[in-house]
């Protein structure tokens, strides 16, 4: 006999809130805005590239994924950006970089394809995309660049050079983990690698997490105002705390409490410069989904306790231990 899942129909009709899927859920953070401003400046001033460094779980990848859709040229046209994540491989060659790039650009590769053919296809693909704006610019966001060897940067130099020959301006932005890439950067700054340094490693940007009460307030306001489900006008706070929201409660009102707890109990004690965006999001999501609906928002002491528990649950401490052990 056929069994029918009663939830199946309803789940199809009402899509679940993206907060349950960490990959889909995002909020705009002040640091994303700063990075956008920096990348726009690089594009507008005709820079050939730069690098972005940040600690683990700061939200660099998420920021890159968001920004690749929003970059604009001086003529206010969309500048296409392509995001590629470098993988760790046993054999690290220039050809493997081309293959990785080609695959991420949607190319179907065969074993017989030569590095020359693949590089030509990548160049034409990027050049075709750059035809969409009058300034003929295109951005390549290379994530986890610390996994590259110094020799593999030749692939990006070649792309830049060849695209320049066909009158296309490529801006290559390398994004990497601050601690892991320090050794590679030291090598790059040696005079024998000046051609790489001059092209891509003159400009830099430090990507941090949340660093003050203003940042916390900015992020919490997103929970109160941003609509996450298509066709549903509810903000995230309203969706999970409907009654409290209707009686005037706003998550942003907890900004100072959240910051003071983090500042006193974690930041100063652990000598943290930033609150990693991913840890922050997990903490706030836990607070919003698990604690506040269950214990309410009226008792201040209880709320403070809930915030502390949420931060503990976010994995901030265990994450730091991991970093120390590394």
């Amino acid at each position: 006999m056929k069994t029918v899942n009663p939830n199946k129909g309803s789940s199809l009709e009402t899509p679940i809130h993206p907060i349950f899927s960490p990959v889909d859920f995002y909020i705009d953070t002040p640091m994303i805005g700063k990075l956008e401003e920096t990348l726009t400046r690089w594009i507008w001033t005709g820079q050939t590239g730069g690098y972005v460094l940040g600690g683990a779980r700061m939200g660099k990848t998420r920021a890159a994924e968001l920004l690749k859709l929003n970059l604009k040229s001086r003529t206010n046209e969309h500048v296409p950006a392509h995001h590629v994540t470098i993988s760790n491989r046993d054999v690290k060659t220039v050809a493997s970089v081309f293959r990785r790039l080609a695959l991420s650009l949607g190319e179907e590769l065969k074993k017989k394809d030569t590095a020359d053919d693949i590089s030509a296809r990548i160049i034409v693909k990027l050049a075709d995309q750059a035809q969409g704006n009058q300034t003929r610019q295109i951005v390549l966001l290379v994530d986890e660049f610390q996994r590259l060897t110094i020799q593999q940067f030749a692939a990006f130099s070649e792309l830049y050079d060849q695209l320049r020959e066909i009158r296309i301006n490529l801006v290559t932005v390398f994004i990497g983990n601050k601690n892991e890439s320090s050794q590679l950067l030291e090598q790059i700054y040696l005079t024998e690698h000046e051609h790489i340094c001059g092209r891509f490693f003159i400009n830099n940007f430090e990507f941090g997490g949340i660093s003050n009460v203003g940042d916390v307030k900015y992020c919490l306001k997103q929970y109160d105002s941003m609509r996450q489900i298509p066709g549903n006008t509810d903000s995230t706070t309203q969706y999970f705390l409907r009654e409290e929201f209707n009686s005037g409660f706003r998550l942003a009102a907890l900004a100072e409490t959240v910051w003071s707890i983090f500042n006193q109990d974690y930041r100063k004690k652990l000598h943290l410069k930033y609150w990693g965006t991913q840890y922050f999001l997990v903490a706030i999501n836990t607070l919003l989904l698990d604690y506040l609906p269950r214990y309410g928002v009226s008792d201040r002491a209880k709320v403070e306790e809930m915030i502390m528990k949420s931060i503990d649950t976010s994995g901030l401490l265990s994450g730091l231990i991991g970093v120390c052990n590394d």
Partner: protein
Amino acid sequence: MINLGICFHKPHQSLESKFRCFHIGNPGRSRREISAQIRKEIPGRFRVGRPLIENFQALLNIRTGKQHLQRYSNLDYKNCMQCAARGYHADIYNFSWLTSCPIHRLEAITTYCPECQLPWQMTPENQRRNTCKICGELTLKNLIKEQVFHEIWDYQLLAQLEEIVDNFSEPRRTILFSGVQDTELVELLNPSDDQFPSVLVTEFPIFKQCLLKANVTLNQCRIERGVRGKMVHLKFFNKFTRRRLDQEHWRQDSINKVAITILQRLDSLHNCTPRASKIISFPVKNNHCAYCIACNTWMHFLQSNEINRTDKIDIAVNDFTRFYLSNYLYVPEPLRCIWISGSRYNQYIRTNWVELLPQNIQQAIYELQLWVCFINILKIVKLALTRTDNLTKSYPLSIPQLRLEPLCFDVQIDRADEMVVTLPEIGYGCV
């Protein structure tokens, strides 16, 4: 996703040339791989057996949202050596009267490659086989090495010539018909004719400077103005060749066969005076019945040759109808403009040995074409009749739904003696 090579596109570039750029953008891919990739993107529009360039064209139109046309492809392919070495070609290079490149002024436009003396290679396979640096396969590496992208080309003259050709190959002027004051009937010039520039300059001297700049040879030409108003007498033109139709011994049989069907259909459809089903007289019984007029016109067109086809016809609203019929109607000929998708006969079509088709197949295709020709005439006559009330108004010449292209049939043949085709429904009765 396959690359289109848009980054190599230049102004006024022909589709053939864009197709060459497309191959520069996809090095190392075989024809089969390219076809498979295109097929993935345009599953509905992809046609097996259709030339790859046409499937590429469909993909290009979809991705860019613009129409990329293959123009003047019926003419011999001609190119300039400098342009060819850079993967460039413009549609107007194919005109026989253009002998030097409007971009590289002194460079000759030829039907063969001056470097290897072979005809220009049109297919990527041939280009790949050819090692000639001008007409052989182009690679991104070579183009960069030759610093092709640093060159700045002046397209001004090319643009002017193309504008002239476009203006005179498309009927864009408003024409008033006889019986109305200031009637003007202009026969359109054919830009593919050798003497097009000569006739054009005689009529419009303003273009002389531009054509001389392009090193076009201009001949003396006389324009006769007759009773029909201003008319360009195309003295040098030799386009009215005797049709090969007359040579086919079965031609009249086919016409008779279709004519009987048309008359039978007519008798069942219309309510004007009943006619005798004799094909030879084919009389117009009712001057207000679109079907009657169409029958008569159809027969007249088939039995007269092209040169006097528009002169002798005497039907209602003749000027308007005549104009459309003479400009837009394709009158079928055996073995012309047919496309057969059955596997057995594809080889004949591809090798231009259409004559090798069995006679019964040739005849059947011709009969189909005769039918569609009749339907087209019926459409025109019907439209003309709806416009007879007010002849004083002017008619825009380009009516999209009346653009009657040469008939192309996609006929499925499974056996040599059997062919199944669904004809379009005829919904025309009396007006």
